[in-house]
Structure formats: C-alpha cells, structure tokens
C-alpha cells in the first residue's frame, strides 16, 4: 500500500451548535486526482477550508507525508504546499492581474524591490500554459467570472503545490476552458501532484479523477475507484435518506395562473427563465447552490434588475426593479437570509410584522402603537409565534420563531403570490412542520406559492411541481408524481436532462 501524500482522519468541526463535519476521513495520493461529491451542505466547503488552514478542526488529525500537520492559518497551508482554488473568486479588484497572482510572493530584484517586469512575464507564461489571453497589467475589477476563475487557477499553478484543492473550479467555465484546465491538471497529476476536485458535474468527475469520495450530512460515506462505481450509485449515496412524512401538502385544485415569468434573463446570472405558478399550487425551485435560484426570485420581486423578459402577476405586467410595485401587485418575498434581509433585528416584534404595511396602518401619517399592536397580534397568534411581549426586540426570539415573524410580516400584506426562499433553513423540526402546514394552508386558500429550497425532502414533500435549475437555466419541470430524489438530483447536476421522467422545458 502506497502511503498517502495528505491524509485526514477523524476530522470534526462544529460552528456553534451545528456540526459541519463529523469524523471525516480522506486520503490523497501523489499523482492522483480525487473527486469529492455531496449535496449542498454536506460539508465539502468546510473540509476545503480546513485544508486551506482557514478553519482549525475541533478534532482529528491531518498528516502530510505521514507527519502530523498543524495549520494555524492560510499562510501555513501555502507553506506546506497546499494550494486552494475557492468556489468564490478571492481577487483584489483594485490590483493588477499579475499582482493578484503573485501577492505576497512577487519576484524580487535588488534591495528586495518587486521586479514588475519579471512578475508580468511569469504571469504571461502561466496564461500561455492555461491557453488563455488575459492582460496581466489590467486591474482585476471587471473581469468576467470565468476569467476571475482562470486567474485563481493561475495563482494556484504558480505555487507549484504538491496538493491542489479545487472547489468547483469549472462552474463558470465554458467547454473549451474546462478542457484546457483539465489538460493542465492532468499534466500536474502526471508530475506527482495530488489533486482534490470538487464538482457537481459527474461527466467531469469521471473524466478527470481516479478516486471518488461521497459525503453526506457532514459525514464520510464512501471512497471508491471511479471504474468501480456508477453515477446512479453515487447519486443514491449522496441522497441516501428516506423522505419523511413531515410534509403535509394538502392536494388542492389548481386555479388560474397568478405568477407568469417569461424569458427572464440577467446576463451572466440566469438565462431565459420561463414558468407559471397557479393559485393553489406550491411550486418548488430546486437546484444546487449557485444555480441562480435566489437570483431569479430576487429579479421577479424587483430587488435586482433583469435585462430582458417579463413578469406578470394576475395577468398584469410588473415593472422591473421596483419592489414597491411588486408588493402593490400582491407579491411577497420571504428572503433567504432572515437576519440580514428579512428582519430588522433591533426592532420589536410588532414593528417588524407591520413594517410592509406601515402606510396602510398610519392615520394622518402617524403610526400609533395601538394599531400596530392590534395588527401584529392576530398574525402572531395565527402563526403560534412564541414571544414574550410584542414589544420585545425580534433578536430575542429563537431562529424558528424569527422565521415565523418574517412569514407573518408578509402574510399580513395578504399576498396573492408568496415567494419563500429557503423557508426552513436552520430551524428545528417542529417549527419546520408548522411552516410547511402554513404554506400548504395558504395554497389551499388560493395563494400561489413559489418555494426555493435546497432540501430535497422538503421539495419532494411540499411541491406540486418541481422546477430544476442548473447553471442559470431551467432544465426540468417535474410534476409531483415524476419527481423523486434521483430525477431532481440528476437534473440539478446537469448529468441527464430530466432523465426522461418529466417534460424538459423548452423556450
């Protein structure tokens, strides 16, 4: 047995009460590309950050060449020969491309001055190796995502690392660019580098890697040679749980179309998105992180602008980029990040609940505490929000109750179309069920519900239809009876377009 170049064993990491990694093991060998796959939230990115020295593991050991390795910061990881390409580019927008590549390691001339000419030449050399043309003197600001990613790759190459970690490096690259990157990675692997490759694209994983590790819910599931497993087997292991009966979607009659989205495009973010949500229907928008789901709903609601296409609510065209008009038209958006976007944490519960209706509740332009209190009271009771007094700051509530306050706030506007983005992230099981029951009830009352969710069981349990996005495009529209974990996962990873189980949406 060959000794692994870099090994992790028994690694655990928690953030507060949330265990991100539990007893994870991983072995990377010199001259081998190793794939790491798993659903959103499986712990892949946390693992990457441990390898990068950003997080220290709570438990477990890292060994390099069989010797224990302690990383107290990113500089240590770099010194140990570990280069990391992050999912999100981490460039300095004001500095030149060449400086971005060599920051902290610029070639020097006499008096330890930076040798700008040499730095420029070395950057050009790296880009030639990658087969791309990027001006090393231009500032990084304004580079496309793909070019930013290429600069990151050049940065990692320039380190001459013995371990190269790539967290979804290809998400923004075109086919030709991916081929170039793979050619470079293969030559590095042949030269003895150990590569850890994280990707949701199975075709890439199987084309590039020799070994594949599956993670689920922060745990290690399996490690195999790629020629010994199939894509279906891997997807099963990634999902690997039962759909619980926690999700009580009542079946209702589908009524008239309430939200119609036609050919919505925002350049470089999402392209040609068309779908309809009817009254009484819960439609889930599924996909991997970064597929553009939240961006679509933000554009629909008017927070972000879109470049072309249209949004209609109850048949009337909505002006783009105007959330106030969207609220007037009966749209409500419960955003993904309740602490940052959904609530004003320092304000009282009642004030948060009545915030979108402050004008309707005001008399002669003045807002009286009494009317605020009465308006909030009924919704707080209806949603079973556990709160001391309505005048307590909302920051004193638990996560689940905060989420209910966000829901109450928008339900109070009596929306015809309710958009919820990750409605149950980070809240306990009991509250989760309550939120689901509420959504179901709203649909029964004729509200059109569009739900963005990364939790497959929630999607499958709640939705009448599942829309799947992959890299900014809508790739599948699966009716409830055709949607199962595998068909959604395969569509989301772009492995098989909808697997023939449902209709593939065409413009």
């Amino acid at each position: 047995m060959v000794r692994p170049l870099l090994a992790l064993s028994g690694v655990s990491k928690s953030f507060g009460a949330v265990a991100a990694l539990r007893d994870v093991r991983l072995e990377l060998f010199a001259g081998e590309a190793h794939a790491l796959v798993g659903e959103n939230g499986a712990g892949k990115s946390t693992l990457v950050k441990i390898l990068a020295g950003v997080h220290a593991p709570d438990d477990g050991v890292l060994t390099l060449h069989g010797r224990p390795l302690l990383l107290s910061g990113p500089a240590d990881a770099r010194a140990a020969g570990i280069a990391v390409i992050y999912q999100e580019p981490t460039l300095f927008p004001d500095l030149s491309v060449a400086e971005n590549i060599f920051m902290g390691r610029q070639p020097l001339r006499s008096l330890r001055r930076i040798d700008n000419a040499k730095m420029r030449d070395q950057a050009v050399e790296l880009f030639v190796r990658l087969g791309v043309q990027i001006d090393p003197d231009r500032p990084a600001r304004g580079l496309s995502i793909a070019d930013q990613q290429l600069v990151e790759i050049a940065k990692a190459l320039s380190l001459d690392a013995q371990v190269l970690v790539m967290d979804e490096p290809t998400a923004a690259l075109s086919g030709v660019e991916v081929e170039r990157l793979f050619a470079v990675v293969r030559s590095l692997v042949d030269a003895g580098t150990a590569v850890l490759f994280i990707s949701h694209r199975f075709d890439e994983v199987f084309a590039l890697c020799q070994r594949i590790t599956v993670m689920r819910d922060g745990r290690w599931v399996s490690t195999d040679r790629v020629d010994e497993v199939t894509v279906d087997e891997i997807v099963r292991r990634m999902v690997g749980r039962e759909v619980s009966a926690l999700f009580p979607k009542q079946s209702t009659k589908v009524r008239e179309p309430r939200l119609q989205v036609r050919h919505l495009t925002r350049h470089g973010v999402f392209t040609d998105i068309s779908f309809t949500v009817h009254g009484g229907e819960i439609v889930a928008l599924a996909g991997l992180v970064g597929a553009g789901r939240s961006e679509v709903v933000r554009a629909v609601f008017g927070i972000d602008r879109y470049d072309s296409g249209e949004v209609r609510v109850d048949g009337r065209r909505l002006r783009g980029g105007d959330p106030a008009a969207a609220i007037d038209a009966g749209l409500a958006l419960v955003p993904e990040d309740r602490r940052q976007q959904g609530l004003v944490m320092e304000l009282s519960v009642q004030r948060n609940v009545t915030l979108p209706r402050r004008w309707a509740l005001a008399r002669a332009g003045l807002l009286f505490a009494g009317s605020e209190h009465r308006a909030a009271q009924s919704w707080i009771q209806r949603l079973h929000v556990k709160t001391g007094r309505l005048t307590d700051p909302v920051s004193t509530l638990s996560g689940g109750n905060q989420q209910k306050v966000v829901l109450a706030k928008w339900l109070a506007t009596r929306p015809g179309v309710l958009i919820v983005d990750e409605p149950t992230r980070g809240i306990d099981v009991g509250t989760k069920a309550e939120v689901h029951r509420l959504l179901s009830q709203l649909a029964a009352e004729g509200v059109a519900v569009l739900m963005v969710s990364s939790e497959l069981p929630e999607v499958l349990g709640m939705a009448d239809r599942v829309l799947v996005m992959h890299e900014g495009r809508l790739v599948a529209d699966l009716p409830r009876e055709h949607a199962d974990e595998e068909s959604v996962m395969l569509a989301a990873t772009g492995a098989v377009p909808a697997a023939g189980t449902g209709e593939v949406v065409l413009p």
Binding site: G73, A77, T90, G104, V132, P139, S174
Partner: protein, 342 residues
C-alpha cells in the same frame, strides 16, 4: 466556445483607458492646481512671486506630511482621526524638551518628536487590533484622549519663540536653493512612502487589504500586522509634523493642530485616494494637500470672501468624489468588453 469567439486581438485600447484612469486622477489634481494658480496670477501677478511660492510650500508642508500618513492608513480601509492631537502632543513635547535642554542637537529633537507620535500610533494600532473596533471609533476616542493629555500636561502654559533655541527656529525659516527646509522634509517623506508602497511586498499588501479584506486573509497576508504598521507610520509622521510645527511657529500651547484631522482627510480624498481603500497614491494625497493650501491662499487674492473658502473645499471634495464615481463607471464600462458565458 467563448475562447474561440473572442477576438484575436484583445481590445487593448480599452484596457489602456482603464490603466490611464489611475494616472488621470493625479493629473486631474495637478491640472486643477495649475488652473487655480494661473487664474489667480492673472488677477494679481504677485501671486507667483518667489516669496509667495515659498509661503505656499511652507504652508502645505505640515498638511502634506499628515496626508501621506493618512493616505497609508486609508489605503488599508481604515482612518486615523487622532493625527491632529498627536501633532499637538508632539509639538508641545518637543517645545518643552528644548526649553529644558536648549543645546540638544536638532536631529535628536526630531527623533524624539517622531517617537512620541509613533507611541501614539502604537496605542491606536493596538486598540484596533485587540478590541476589533472600527478605526473610526478608536481614533475618534484617542483624538480626545491625546488632546486631553496635551491639555493636562500644558495646563495653561504657553511656550514662546523667545524660549526656544534660535538654531531650532532657524530650521523653520531656512531655505535650500530657494526651497524651505521644512518642505524638503515633506518631499523626503513623500518619496520614501511612495517608493515603499509601490515597490515592496508589504506595501502592496496594504493595497490588497484595502481592496478586499476577506481575500487578504485567505491569501495569507498578515492583515493585523500591516494595519498596525500603517497606524504606527501615521502616528510617527504626525509626530514629525509636530516638530516641524514647533520650528515653524515657535509659539506653542495645547491647541496646536486642533481640528486639522478633517483637513487631512479632505486632502487625501481630494488627492484621489478611495475612502474605502485599495487605490490611490501618497503622491495624490500630497498634491491634494498643496491644492487645499493654495485655495486658502488664492481666494483672498481673487477677492472672494474668505467665508467661502470652506464651501470651496467642500465643493472640491464633492467634485473629487464625483470624478471618482465617473471614472469608476467609465473603467467598469471599458473593462466589461467580454462575451458573456451564456
């Protein structure tokens, strides 16, 4: 297919526009300065006499030194509001020292004054690093603390020019080839700081920190240490400015440099250093200091009510910020010339 679809020759002109944007900033200030001096000279030819140029340079010196230190701090996305108080402390400190030991060599006096400033800078830097409180708040606090120390030290004493050794005061008025000696200090400081920020790894890392703090951590840059160094440098330069202030004015009480910190920040911003860090240069900041001083001297000559002087400074700051936004938008447009990955 994006790579193939890309034109064979990169739109080089666009990128040149983008790069020129950086130079345009400093040229813009220089142009404004030339126009101002030109217009004033037409009105009153004596504005460009050797004596008044000397006065202008002398007047800009202290502001320029403070601006160089401030620019270094602002480039790292921080701000140092305590420089006026540090200047006051250092000025009164060197004055008291010279009263006590009149025959002290001038270089020693300069080192002591700079050291007083550096110690204040260490206090600022340590508080920011240890307490993880924004620099704006910390230096607003030390602004009052340092001034308070100055007051309780000086009580209501005043040091007069007669109490100071003549050799020290001569430094404040001496010229070398027509250029005031004090200005030469500022020029030396400017050149050293500009060279360091441009040509050394740690200098470039300061830009990186201001440009993207989170990315700087991931890149393994010792962010805390660099920011600390920037505050020590700013403090030390404020200390040096205090010595020069003592030499120039000779009359010292606890109010030296009172309120100058906002002029310094204004000079830096007018000089094209982005208030959110990452871009700009100390040369621009120094030019900004010269421009603000020149406005102060030119407006009375032009017959404009001195009350308008502050409004003019304000308009200039707004114009500088407006120019920044316009340039940024133009650079962004010219850099966006790439095919979408649709």
């Amino acid at each position: 297919m994006t790579v193939l679809a890309r034109p064979a020759t990169r739109p080089a002109s666009r990128i040149r526009v983008a790069r020129r944007g950086l130079v345009v900033r400093e040229m813009g200030i220089l142009l404004a300065l030339v126009l101002l001096v030109g217009a004033t000279t037409v009105t009153n030819p004596r504005f460009l006499s050797a004596q008044s140029i000397k006065d202008l340079l002398l007047g800009s010196t202290i502001l320029a030194i403070l601006a160089v230190g401030q620019a270094t701090v602002i480039i790292t996305r921080n701000v140092d509001l305590s420089v006026g108080s540090i200047l006051g402390l250092s000025a009164f400190g060197t004055g008291s020292l010279l009263v006590a030991v009149p025959h002290l060599p001038i270089p020693v006096v300069i080192v002591v004054g700079t050291a007083i400033g550096a110690v204040c800078g260490v206090v600022n830097g340590a508080l920011i690093a240890a307490a993880r409180v924004p620099a704006l708040v910390v230096t607003l606090g030390t602004l009052y603390v340092f001034r308070g120390i100055d007051y309780s030290w000086a009580t209501s004493r005043q040091i007069n020019a007669a109490d100071l050794p003549a050799g020290f005061l001569r430094m404040g008025t001496a010229t070398l080839l027509g250029v005031p000696v004090l200005t030469l200090f500022a020029v030396a400081v400017l050149l050293v700081a500009g060279f360091y920020l441009h040509s050394y790894r740690s200098g470039r890392e300061m830009y990186a920190i201001g440009s993207a703090p989170a990315a700087a951590v991931l890149a393994g840059i010792p962010v805390g240490r660099r920011v600390f160094a920037a505050f020590v440098a700013s403090g030390a330069l404020a200390g040096l400015a205090g010595v020069l202030y003592a030499a120039r004015f000779g009359t010292l009480d606890a109010n030296a440099g009172l309120g100058i910190e906002l002029n310094v920040v204004a000079a830096v911003v007018v000089g094209g250093v982005a208030i959110f860090g990452g871009s700009g240069s100390v040369y621009g900041a120094a030019l900004g200091a010269v421009l603000l001083t020149t406005i102060g001297a030119a407006l009375p000559v032009l017959g404009i009510n001195p009350f308008w002087q502050r409004a003019a400074v304000g308009a200039l700051i707004l114009a500088a910020i407006g120019l920044d936004r316009a340039l940024a938008a133009r650079v962004a447009r010219s850099l966006r010339g790439r095919n979408n990955h649709a």
